[in-house]
């Protein structure tokens, strides 16, 4: 099928099988490997992207569902060479270790703050409950999200 959708703000057209997962489409067809596969079943959140403003697992979305939708990936966060504030603060707060969960974690944070610019700690924990980090115990991540919301 011919798929037309918005990827990181740009209209994108591509020939793709309707059963291709968005994750594979990004990584293989478009070379956007910032989105990671950690489990392939919507449990770890490493593949999180934002579709029409909502955080979703790109491993559970198919090409046939994407027509006309707007997809934002980690590669689309930088604006004019400037990091998104979330990225900057994740780095500063030592919220990044092995990095494999990081892009998904940042995308979940981005979606959260788009909806709720000043979340409580419980709201942050709830919004990130679908993103597993095996390195940190979440403390630095939660702190980074909180600080981003305070500085917004």
């Amino acid at each position: 099928m011919t798929l037309n959708f918005i990827l990181n703000g740009r209209p994108t057209e591509l020939e793709v099988s309707p059963d291709k997962r968005l994750l594979d489409l990004l990584r293989e067809d478009l070379g956007l490997t910032g989105t990671k596969e950690g489990c392939g079943e919507g449990e770890c959140g490493a593949c999180t992207v934002i579709i029409d403003g909502e955080a979703m697992h790109s491993c559970l979305v198919l090409a046939c569902q994407l027509e006309g939708k707007s997809v934002l990936t980690i590669e689309g966060l930088e604006q004019n060479g400037e990091l998104d504030k979330i990225q900057k603060i994740f780095i500063e707060e030592t919220a990044i270790q092995c990095g494999f969960c990081t892009t998904g974690m940042i995308m979940s944070t981005k979606a959260l703050l788009m909806h709720n610019p000043h979340p409580t700690e419980t709201e942050i924990r709830n919004a990130l409950a679908g993103n597993i980090c095996r390195c940190s115990g979440y403390t630095q991540i939660l702190r980074a999200v909180k600080r981003t919301s305070e500085e917004a």
Binding site: G34, K36, E43, T94, C98
Partner: protein
């Protein structure tokens, strides 16, 4: 200190935050092919017939590898040192399949999708054998046909010290422990890439903990010159011990050697759980003997360790566990006996702490049960028995140096408000029928490297570049926990320059110094970090010498200041290091470089004390962690926030192992190998772990540091289990303590 003890982001944080960092699974090489593996669907049997004709016909398929056309030499995945003495039972592809997930064949194709599709087209006929899913079944003789070495390995036995005379007042405490199989669950699943070039050099790219170890293993397996195998460590998305034994590397090597094109293999999550390795299931039986006032006299410990389908490191693992007895408490006598049994399950292997956490889970449960029986507070009982500074490790005669176990317990007791909480808990439990609260403490000791059990040394090279910055060669393998940053900090601190003025290349056998040990056993900071500090000292001397030659002055008068150098005799003549490099090149005709080899010469006691406060829902068996404190005896934190983050992550990982994590088996031998069934604590459930660091700066480590990454995991599970048992006044130590086990226990108790 300017840098050491402060907090810096991990060196590649920018790439990770933007998604630009390339992990092995993201790699693309020109002409690269993709590999997918056919795994056994039965737990034990023999492949009678393998028909891959349909797979070969699929457009895009380049080759099919299987036991009939691939190197059939037996190996041990734990092999990482030259002439290492190990029992070899595993092959790249196996016709005698020994677990669900054993490798039978693999397809190499132009895309991963085609390779996986082709794998599904391979037809296999099995002859099925009887199988064992539990080590006790193996002891009963259920699988005597596993291989010529037998299915049970043992007996490992040791006895240390002199058994004290029982004056008739000794109190004996008998305990049992069962620890189920857990997986590392690094967020990055396993991946590797190999290429074989026209000069006959094989290059392997993988996230791993020893590039030189893989080089030795691969060269031995394929009978190659060590110089013809290059191994490059890629960015690692977490290891926790899961990337120090060789599973994917021999597969991609075999494929690249055959097809002479780059080959990439990425295991998905199911494959990573089922077909790499897990922490071994273990069964313990113990007798602890105390004096009535709580002095530990004797420990008798019997272990049965489930090796899984191939032997791997299991014998070494059981033996290592047996070496942990005297790194936390002092007492006069111990006996240890262990057997290792194969089963038709996932291969057992290394896990963070390399037997220390398992040892701790078993031992600390004994301490808790003894405390209850003796009527002594659990912290008090530990204080009566804890090792003191300068004590000798009974088994090795080693001085345990500046061990801070007592201070850890005392600080934890104060910061956790232990005494007041005991009263609060008693009141809460008296008033509540459904919810019960409890507290647990665990003290766990560990090592800093291999000394004195094995050789442990390393070399570091440094030179000054034309820009005046410093290149440091040390064979590091950053697991994703900031090793590179810590080493840049160590070098920069010693050299008196900025952290970003030091560059460190991670392990690459073509580039970085030979290091035959690897980043194992908590040696990285303690041993390699010290080597780096010493090399930096030497480099400073070299810079001074070069300047003395250049200016014809006395070395003793030369002073380094940031990236400049001058003599106190002519303070107005200041060279930048960049100036000095130029001068050295043009006149002195020597590079400014240093090379230093450091041999580890001690291994001080190091420990963590963890404190957990939980609430158990006795209606549902759910456990909530209300508070958690980790106190670490660290000597000196290098990168402070990373040390804290490591400790918090280790605590949450240990809490998971205590409460939820295990790879469960169906009766037919098929494991539940996915994250729906294997429950990792998420941000909603994870406790906010408080961390206290005790820093005494008094070791042979860099700037007085000790290890952190493993030792902070050692006490975690036992603290949580202790808290649950305190809440329920139970004696459970069958990990994980799932709601099912807790409610089954409560039901039995109600019925009694």
């Amino acid at each position: 200190m300017v840098h050491v003890g402060k907090s810096y982001p991990i060196h590649d944080a920018l790439g990770k935050a933007t998604g630009r960092t390339v992990y092995a699974g993201d790699m693309e090489l020109k002409g690269m092919l993709h590999m997918a593996v056919l795994f056994s669907k039965i737990p034990h049997g023999f492949v009678k017939k393998l028909d891959y004709s349909k797979a070969m016909e699929l457009p895009g398929v380049v080759d099919v590898l299987y036991y009939g056309n691939t190197c059939q030499k037996e190996y041990n995945r734990y092999h990482s040192q030259y002439r290492q003495d190990l029992i070899h039972t595993e092959r790249i592809f196996n016709q005698h399949v020994r677990f669900v997930g054993d490798r039978i064949a693999a397809v190499v194709a132009t895309t991963e999708e085609i390779a996986r599709k082709a794998v599904s087209l391979i037809e296999v006929e099995y002859e099925e054998y009887s199988f064992a899913l539990d080590a006790h079944e193996t002891l009963e003789g259920k699988i005597d046909n596993m291989d010529e070495h037998g299915s049970v390995f043992g007996s490992i036995a040791n006895e240390v010290g002199t058994r004290p005379e029982n004056d008739g007042t000794f109190v004996e405490v008998d305990t049992t422990t069962h620890i189920d199989r857990i997986n590392h669950m690094a967020m990055e699943t396993h991946a590797a890439v190999a290429e074989f070039d026209s000069q006959g050099e094989l290059t392997i790219y993988s996230p791993n903990q020893t590039v030189y170890g893989i080089r030795s293993f691969i060269a031995d397996l394929f009978d190659m010159d060590y110089n013809k195998v290059r191994v490059v460590k890629t960015t690692m998305g977490g290891s926790f011990g899961g990337k120090q034994e060789w599973v994917l590397e021999p597969l991609v090597a075999a494929a690249a050697l055959r097809v002479k094109r780059p080959v990439k293999l990425v295991y998905n999550r199911e494959e990573s759980i089922r077909s790499t390795y897990c922490r071994a299931p273990m069964y313990f039986k113990n007798k602890f003997t105390f004096t009535p006032d709580g002095k530990l006299q004797d420990v008798d410990c019997d272990l049965l360790l489930d090796a899984g389908a191939y032997l791997g490191n299991s014998i070494n693992y059981a033996r290592t566990l047996g070496s942990k007895f005297f790194r936390t408490y002092r007492y006069p006598h111990e006996t240890f006996h262990a057997q290792v049994a194969l089963t038709n399950t996932i291969v057992s292997g290394a896990f963070r702490g390399w037997s220390s956490p398992e040892f701790n889970i078993n031992f600390e449960h004994g301490m808790n049960m003894a405390a209850r029986k003796l009527g002594i507070d659990p912290i008090e009982l530990r204080l009566k028995n804890v090792i003191h500074e300068g004590d000798i490790e009974l088994s090795t005669g080693l001085n345990l140096g500046d061990f801070k176990g007592r201070q850890v317990l005392e600080l934890g007791r104060e910061k956790f408000d232990w005494e007041n909480r005991k009263k609060e808990i008693a009141e809460f439990n008296a008033q509540n029928k459904r919810y019960k609260r409890g507290m647990g403490v665990s003290l766990g000791g560990h090592v800093n490297g291999f000394y004195p059990a094995k050789p442990d040394y390393t070399r570091v090279d440094m030179c000054v570049t034309e820009s005046g910055t410093v290149r440091c060669g040390v064979t590091l393998h950053d697991h994703g926990c900031g090793t590179v940053t810590a080493f840049k900090m160590i070098a920069a601190e010693e050299l008196g320059i900025e952290v970003d003025q030091v560059r460190i290349q991670e392990g690459d056998t073509a580039v970085t110094p030979q290091d035959f040990v690897g980043c194992f056993s908590s040696r990285t900071t303690y041993v390699m970090g010290r080597a780096t500090q010493e090399c930096a000292k030497l480099l400073k001397e070299r810079i001074k010498e070069h300047f003395a030659v250049e200016r014809g002055c006395d070395v003793a008068d030369v002073v380094l200041d940031g990236m400049t150098v001058y003599s106190t005799k002519e303070p107005d003549v200041v060279y930048t290091w960049s100036d000095l490099v130029y001068a050295s090149q043009q006149r002195y005709q020597h590079e400014i470089f240093a090379s230093y080899e450091y041999v580890s010469k001690d291994n001080p006691g190091v420990c963590g004390g963890h404190f957990a406060y939980v609430e158990v829902d006795t209606y549902t068996g759910m456990v909530k962690i209300l508070d958690y404190l980790a106190v670490q005896d660290i000597g000196q934190a290098i990168n402070r926030e990373i040390c804290i983050a490591q400790t918090q992550g280790a605590s949450v990982m240990g809490a998971g192992a205590a409460l939820t994590e295990h790879v469960h088996y169906r009766p037919n031998g098929v494991p539940f190998a996915n994250l729906k069934d294997y429950h990792l604590l998420n941000s909603f459930e994870a406790p906010s772990v408080r961390v206290e660091l005790i820093e005494n700066h008094n070791t042979e480590g860099p700037f007085g540091a000790k290890t952190i990454g493993e030792v902070c995991h050692v006490p975690a599970s036992a603290a949580v289990v202790g808290a649950v048992n305190d809440a329920l006044q139970s004696d459970l130590n069958d990990l994980p303590l799932t709601p099912d086990k807790i409610t089954a226990y409560l039901k039995n108790r109600e019925e009694r």
